[in-house]
């Protein structure tokens, strides 16, 4: 930054210049091998062949394909995607409720005092935690890819992939919600000798039901998006359709599907918001 002092002589007025320059130099040294590893070759973008392929593809985006036959296929795929997300979340709840209840500290009898089978419950809790980590640690699309090999192409693999990943995710959040609220009623019940399930139903559920439901609905919204993505490896729904159209370089179809995808995500957002409002 050049300024002119009162004597009219220009001078550089950046007090932080040297440290900033060092920072840039050091980052470039670190960045260089990374750029090599990522095969960072921007000039590929200017390769005339590539431009032609992409250009021909993108030109077809407008106008989107609006043939009645194709729209019908897209509609069926969209409903399939919504059904996949709903069924997936329903199965995920079946996985998450027992796991979450097992993990949650606020239902732990062994934390109140040394019980008879303290080590056993500690072991069960460890296994449950490991299972939860394993289920949600592997991305849903990897599960989908594996399950497609078992169940074949189609929505079954997608539903199960969502059930597995979101089961792990929900169980973590369920256990956290159960721990974050008022845990005194549950503890009082446990101390006076009630079973864990009774303590959950009468001590924890009344005060946390709304939050649990609200979070589950939010996850359904995410599952809609996830089931589109899972479709890319052949797990049915809108994603599978988009993958097929892309492989055939049919730009018009891809742009129709993209538009439908945007509308679907917007719709899911609003449905989830509506339900969560009702719960308040």
């Amino acid at each position: 930054m050049k300024h002119h002092s009162s004597s009219g002589k220009p001078y550089i007025s950046d007090p932080a210049a040297s440290s900033r320059l060092t920072l840039i130099a050091v980052s470039l040294v670190i960045l260089w091998p990374m750029l090599e590893l990522a095969q960072f070759q921007p000039w590929l973008l200017l390769n005339p062949e590539n431009i032609e392929v992409l250009g021909n593809f993108l030109v077809q985006f407008i106008p989107p394909n609006t043939e009645a036959d194709f729209l019908r296929i897209v509609l069926v795929a969209t409903i399939e995607t919504l059904a996949m997300a709903t069924a997936g979340i329903a199965l995920a709840i079946l996985i998450a409720v027992p796991l979450g209840l097992t993990i949650s500290h606020s239902l732990s009898i062994s934390r109140i005092g040394p019980g008879s089978n303290y080590l056993f419950s500690k072991f069960v809790r460890f296994i449950a935690r490991f299972l939860m980590l394993f289920l949600r640690g592997i991305p849903e699309i990897v599960w989908a890819l594996l399950l497609v090999r078992i169940f074949g192409l189609g929505p079954t693999a997608g539903v199960l992939a969502i059930a597995i990943t979101y089961g792990g995710m929900l169980s973590k959040v369920y256990s956290e919600i159960l721990e974050s609220g008022n845990t005194l009623p549950a503890r009082a019940l446990l101390v006076s000798g009630s079973g864990r399930l009774a303590a959950f139903f009468y001590g924890l559920l009344p005060s946390t039901a709304q939050e649990l439901a609200s979070y589950t609905v939010y996850r359904w919204e995410c599952a809609v998006r996830a089931s589109v993505v899972a479709g890319f490896v052949g797990a049915g729904g809108l994603g599978q359709l988009m993958d097929q159209s892309m492989k055939m370089l049919n730009g018009g179809e891809v742009s129709t599907i993209l538009v439908v995808f945007f509308i679907l995500v917007l719709l899911a957002d609003n449905i989830s918001l509506l339900i969560r409002k009702q719960l308040e």
Partner: protein, 268 residues
């Protein structure tokens, strides 16, 4: 530990909730019916078919040294893709943040807002599939795909940060004769810089996760290795890749939890 004073009345019976609940149950049952899924059938399917050997092959991961070295370079590739994409995206996003925050007038504001929303609404995997056409298979496609999506997300977040930041310093510099660029660099940037950095690191974390799976459409990294091994029916090798992915996600999770805890700690 909550005290008795913040005890809330538990929810009472409400008809509306029951109706909503009933509708949801109906739609869920309909979903299973529509997809032709019978949860009970999964188990019989499990017993009938010969998938047990398929799953069993995953329990003997390939741990030979040459393959582990290959996995190592896969991890480095994944990390490089995510790091470069995040860096590029944050640089682009600083450029996008100025118009998004309304510094160049309302027209530019709504236009860049639309651009950001568009960039982030298209899933990374779709960007990757399109960009593979433009630059061919390989990690560069993954890098560009992540860059585009992340630029949309960060552009919006950066813009909001900039909008909420007080303009006093900036105005003071401009009033004392600094140029607009200098005023931004020295009056505004130092104030919002920590927030931008924390957003970028958060996105980097997500991008590492994303970079592991972008390979499914041919965009490099561990995902491409997994796709390839599964296509060649080499389950032991695929199993190694999956374990690596799990490991990578867990390490990133642990580091980010530690950092977050440290940050919360330093903030008091």
């Amino acid at each position: 530990m909550s005290t008795l004073t913040d005890l809330k009345m538990a929810r009472q019976f409400c008809l509306k909730c029951l109706v909503v609940f009933f509708i949801i149950i109906c739609l869920t049952v309909w979903s299973f019916a529509y997809l032709g899924l019978n949860p009970i059938r999964f188990f019989s399917f499990y017993a009938d078919s010969n998938i047990a050997p398929f799953i069993a092959r995953f329990f003997s991961p390939d741990l030979s040294t040459p393959y582990l070295l290959k996995i190592g370079s896969g991890i480095l590739e994944t990390l490089s893709i995510s790091a470069i994409a995040t860096l590029l995206a944050s640089i682009i996003s600083i450029g996008l943040a100025l118009p998004t925050a309304g510094r160049f007038g309302p027209t530019a504001k709504s236009m860049t807002r639309f651009l950001c929303n568009f960039l982030r609404s298209v899933p990374e995997l779709v960007w990757a599939a399109i960009i593979v056409l433009a630059v061919g298979l390989g990690p560069f496609a993954g890098t560009l795909a992540l860059t585009l999506h992340t630029a949309g997300v960060l552009g919006r977040l950066f813009g909001e940060t900039l909008e909420n930041h007080p303009t006093a310093n900036n105005t003071a510099l401009i009033n004392s004769g600094a140029g607009r660029v200098a005023a931004f660099l020295y009056g505004t940037l130092p104030g919002i810089y920590p927030q931008l950095l924390s957003y970028s690191l958060y996105r980097w974390e997500m991008n590492i996760r994303m970079a592991t799976i972008l390979g499914f459409v041919g965009a490099g990294g561990l995902g491409q290795m997994l796709f390839y091994e599964l296509a060649l029916l080499r389950e032991p090798k695929a199993s190694t890749v999956i374990i690596t992915m799990l490991f990578l996600v867990m390490v990133v999770d642990a580091i980010s939890n530690k950092l977050r805890a440290a940050q919360l700690h330093s903030m008091g």
